[in-house]
């Protein structure tokens, strides 16, 4: 059997183990695919041909010598441009970091290298991860492979689109309020936000330190589990990293794939369904619930009353932390430097650089956060928001006393049109309604494709949330749902995605992407 870019990462790993493909061949396939479609999709900000191929060659040499570093050794991956990569540009989607090449690897990146995964490049994102559409990237938007006129979600639209467009079998995303899960939902892919502290944040350029978490972006639940097993675990460089052993998520995903849900108690969150949610999204959500019930799960409705305040609390805590995090971008040590006319002081240079280097959404949140932390307003805004956060955690605790996992649609709508919500930040923020509570409470969540909405034929997502530290439940239930749905559909959802036009001169016809032209 020929390996193609449409295979899952687990299948690619098996093909490498069987010797039917080499890592160099796999990496070349993906680099060719990027060359062919990324002009239209714009998932990547930087592609590292040489580096990826060198890592692939090293992987092949190891394998020839009988050594492999991990189950995914030799399977290429894309990394969101918010994680530092030694020797590779890291911009966070911002002009202010244009040209900056970090002198060190984020722990997640170091673990990918240590596990032998060739890094294809860095993926596009909303500037400093602020946004739900990837339209706020200073380097232009990413397009949804299902409909190039639509958004791929955000902030990690680049990683999700790269995986959905078969430019990479695996990617790393980061999720502060839904930036892994919501792009997963709108591109028909899988995205996991691990328990806060489950994956090191060292080298993740912070948006909001108390909310950020890096995680897998893939096409299947098993692939996410394989990747999570590699990037997760304690890191002494991150004080908030959890110092305890984790179970194998791969095992949990394989166990779940049998589809048996007997004895599993599932809670549907009352506050995250109903009015205002797109009909097609709700229809696919209900179908998934029905399948889980048929597979033996017990489903109940659970109320989390404080969730209605989550968005408000989030938009105080996030800007507050971000306003402080982004202060370091001052032209003094790295990145953009704008020197105004005349005889400018250091402060003048800082001001001019920050004015030119940050986009409007970033400035909006810096202003919000600075205000929320100001003396005299702190208690009313930041202090209150922290109290809401505690209430949300209590809602989760109470809910998880009744059920094993909580579920909701991942996002209220399918992908909207590029530009549609650009002038309406509140409408944009509302897209993260269902994903934000997990970040505020630090609990893990996954988004699994639930099908296509009838009204627009675009993917919808099914979100599963588990108690902190119980990430394996996401894989167990997620893999079960995925396998039940795939049986219904008869093929992976992404097979229904329209073919992307290939750039002239590409040699892809011979590399097994026949589905593009069928």
């Amino acid at each position: 059997m020929t390996t193609t870019v449409r295979n899952t990462a687990a299948e690619m790993a098996q093909a490498l183990a069987d010797g039917t493909v080499t890592s160099v061949q796999l990496t070349e396939l993906h680099l060719e695919r990027i060359a062919a479609v990324d002009g239209a999709v714009h998932a990547f900000l930087h592609v590292d041909h040489e580096g990826a191929l060198a890592q692939a060659a090293a992987s092949d040499a190891r394998r020839a010598a009988g050594e492999t570093l991990s189950p995914l050794d030799g399977v290429p991956i894309a990394v969101k441009d918010v994680l530092t990569t030694e020797g590779l540009p890291t911009t966070c989607g911002s002009k202010i970091l244009e040209g900056w090449v970090p002198p060190y690897d984020a722990t997640v990146v170091a673990r990918l290298r240590a596990a032998g995964l060739p890094i294809l490049g860095k993926t596009n994102m909303d500037e400093f991860a602020m946004g739900s559409s990837t339209e706020h990237s200073a380097y232009g938007p990413t397009h949804n492979p299902w409909d190039l006129d639509r958004i791929p979600g955000g902030s990690g639209g680049g990683s999700a689109a790269a995986v959905a467009a078969f430019e990479a079998p695996l990617a790393i995303g980061t999720d502060t309020g839904g930036s892994i899960r919501q792009p997963g939902a709108v591109t028909g892919t899988v995205g996991v936000k691990p328990t806060y502290g489950g994956v090191s944040r060292y080298g993740l350029v912070a948006l909001a330190n108390s909310l950020d978490q890096a995680g897998p972006v893939t096409r299947t639940v098993l692939d996410s589990a394989l990747l999570h097993d590699i990037i997760g675990g304690h890191d002494p460089r991150d004080s908030t990293s959890i110092d305890q052993p984790w179970p194998s998520f791969t095992d949990a995903a394989r166990a779940g794939a049998t589809g048996d849900m007997t004895g599993v108690k599932i809670g549907v969150i009352t506050e995250l369904t109903g009015e205002g949610w797109q009909d097609g999204v709700m229809a696919r959500f209900q179908e998934s619930i029905d399948l889980l019930v048929k597979a033996g799960a017990e489903v109940v409705e659970v109320s989390c009353p404080s969730f209605v305040h989550a968005l408000a609390a989030y938009y105080l805590i996030l800007p507050a932390e971000a306003s402080s995090n982004l202060a370091k971008f001052d032209a003094m040590r790295y990145g953009l430097r704008v020197v105004p006319e005349g005889d400018p002081s250091a402060e003048d240079v800082m001001r001019a650089t920050r004015d030119a280097g940050f986009g409007d959404e970033v400035k909006r949140r810096i202003i919000l956060g600075t205000y929320a932390l100001s003396s005299g307003y702190y208690d009313a805004y930041y202090g209150q928001a922290q109290k809401v956060r505690t209430l949300i955690s209590r809602d989760f605790e109470a809910a998880f006393e009744q059920v094993d996992v909580l579920v909701s649609p991942t996002a209220p709508t399918t992908a909207f049109k590029l530009g549609e919500k650009l002038d309406d930040p509140i409408a944009m923020y509302l897209n993260d309604l269902a994903t934000i509570p997990a970040n505020l409470a630090g609990v893990p969540g996954i988004s699994v494709p639930s099908g296509l909405a009838d009204e627009d034929g675009l993917p919808a997502g099914f979100q599963i949330l588990a108690p902190a530290l119980a990430d394996e439940r996401l894989y167990r239930v997620g893999a079960a749902l995925e396998s039940l749905l795939t049986q219904e559909w008869g093929a992976p959802l992404l097979d229904k995605a329209p073919a992307l036009a290939l750039r002239d001169g590409s040699s892809l016809a011979s590399t097994g992407t026949e589905s593009e032209t069928r």
């Binding site: 994680l83 970090p102 002198p103 984020a106 202060a327």
Partner: protein
């Protein structure tokens, strides 16, 4: 720079009562920085002791240095503070080019140590020692900033500079900031109390072994807050904060200066501007720094990249067991051991030489010898040059070495003073200075005999008296020989030679 009008110290006290608050920053001597593994060695090439964390590179994260927390707790315990059961770091947000993250990771409303005191022994005008209890509000942990060098301006400050250089080696060095409650009611002793507090705090830090405690290198830095209120009202006036007062003597002078400056302004009906002031060691005045009247808003919030510090009570008690002896108790004990009178003790403390005398005795000198050198030659030198006695360039080990040379007959007291001069000028060790300056006593008979002959020939009357049995007259001839030998003669041997030749 404007010249401030001052009221005389006496007149300012007639009209006003001073209140002081002292903030002392102690740079810890941990091997690594507060939040990363970078070394902390003083004087390394600029920007060689840095990493992504202390440079504030995007993505880097802090990790708390456990030894720094331990040092902070030991300082807190030695100052009779409570140790927090749970406390956090906070971000103090403001833009400054030598601060890599544009926020300082510090502690705000949850300090590691709080509610303590120190009983300070203050030498008084009338020759006694008064014990003043200084209340400690808090001791908290924070990180140092980088160090800026402003090139091209007249003042060395950023204003007017052509460009600035920043050394981030210092960024992230652990600091403990110790803040007193307002010190009231000290009246004319206020400058002496301030100095004695910082001196005793420094001694305590030395005894704890948690810092190099070098004021000249900035490892202890004092900020002096001062305000005046109309005499007898017990009120608190508007304060000024004088930054970076970096010697004990300057602490005293800065308090005195600000008292006189405030008094002149208030006396003429003016009001004090709440502001930061800079101390000028050379001219002994303060000048206005940045205004603080708007009460800068640092937008403090808990540092989300760090977990709370929650020292177990077992750990606290374990550290309490490592504390050095209480300084007041220790002073009484050592006075007995050394056999010092109350007056000798007061002079020793007053000269700031208590710790130095102690170290000198520990290094092998007798108490009287240690006192002799520190309170005569060395105290005089410190006074004449306006230097802290600890910063003359003479260590307790040097004093012991000089005395050993005297005891071996290689030096006398007069020559020893020249060795100290060599030490002030950093010419080397005492032995090296003796060699370099050719200071060793001559006891070689050939050279001495010739000098004695010359002295006898030049003073025939004196020689006759000695021949007549008036041996006491030999002193005059010895003096003449010493003069010829520029002091470098063994006086005992000279006497013997004179008597051999004339009796």
């Amino acid at each position: 720079m404007t010249t401030d009008t001052l009221l005389s110290f006496e007149e300012s006290l007639e009209k006003f009562d001073p209140a002081m608050g002292l903030e002392v920053h102690v740079e810890l001597n941990t091997n690594s920085k507060m939040f990363c593994g970078c070394p902390t060695e003083f004087g390394a090439e600029p920007n060689t002791q840095v990493c992504p964390t202390c440079l504030g590179l995007p993505g880097a994260m802090p990790v708390v240095n456990r030894i720094a927390v331990e040092s902070a707790m030991r300082i807190g315990l030695a100052l009779n503070c409570e140790i927090a059961e749970w406390c956090r770091f906070a971000r103090k947000n403001y833009f400054y080019p030598d601060m890599p993250k544009n926020f300082q990771t510090s502690q705000y409303d949850e300090p590691i140590a709080f509610d303590g005191y120190m009983d300070v022994n203050v030498p008084t005008e009338d020759g006694g020692i008064e014990v003043v209890r200084v209340e400690i509000e808090r001791a908290h942990m924070e990180e140092d900033t980088g160090k800026s060098l402003h090139v091209g301006g007249a003042t060395g400050r950023i204003h007017g500079a052509v460009h600035s250089l920043v050394d981030y080696n210092r960024a992230g060095i652990p600091l403990i900031e110790i803040v007193t409650r307002p010190i009231m009611g000290t009246r004319e002793n206020a400058p002496a109390v301030a100095k004695a507090y910082v001196a005793q705090l420094r001694e305590l830090i030395v005894a704890l072994g948690v810092s190099d405690a070098r004021m000249d290198q900035g490892s202890i830095r004092a900020d002096v807050n001062l305000s005046l209120a109309p005499a007898g009202t017990g009120a608190l006036g508007t304060r000024t904060e004088t930054k970076n007062v970096n010697s004990l003597r300057s602490v005293e002078r800065a308090v005195r200066f600000e008292m006189q400056r405030h008094a002149a302004i208030l006396d003429s009906g003016g009001s004090i501007l709440q502001e930061t002031r800079h101390w000028h060691e050379d001219t002994g005045v303060t000048t206005s720094g940045r205004e603080k009247s708007d009460a800068e808003d640092y937008r403090y919030f808990p540092e989300p990249d760090l977990v709370p510090v929650a020292p177990s009570r077992e750990w606290v008690e374990e550290l309490r067991g490592t504390l050095p002896e209480n300084p007041t108790v220790k002073r009484a004990r050592l006075q007995g051991e050394w056999g010092f009178s109350d007056l000798e003790m007061r002079d020793t403390i007053g000269a700031g030489a208590f710790g130095l005398v102690e170290e000198t005795i520990e290094a092998g000198a007798s108490p009287q010898i240690a006192r002799k050198w520190w309170l005569s030659e060395l105290a005089r030198r410190a006074n004449d040059t306006g230097t802290d006695i600890a910063e003359l360039g003479v260590s307790p080990a040097d004093v012991v070495a000089v005395q050993a040379l005297i005891d071996a007959g290689s030096l006398n007291d007069k020559l020893a003073r020249q060795v100290f001069e060599g030490l002030y000028a950093a010419e080397g060790t005492p032995a090296e200075i003796v060699a370099k300056r050719g200071l060793a006593i001559v006891s070689d008979d050939g050279a001495l005999s010739a000098a004695v002959d010359n002295a006898i020939a030049a003073n025939p009357d004196v020689a006759d008296k000695i021949r007549d049995g008036k041996v006491a007259a030999a002193g005059a001839l010895i003096g003449a020989v010493m003069k010829q030998m520029r002091g470098q003669a063994d006086a005992g041997r000279v006497r013997e030679l004179i008597l051999e030749k004339l009796t």
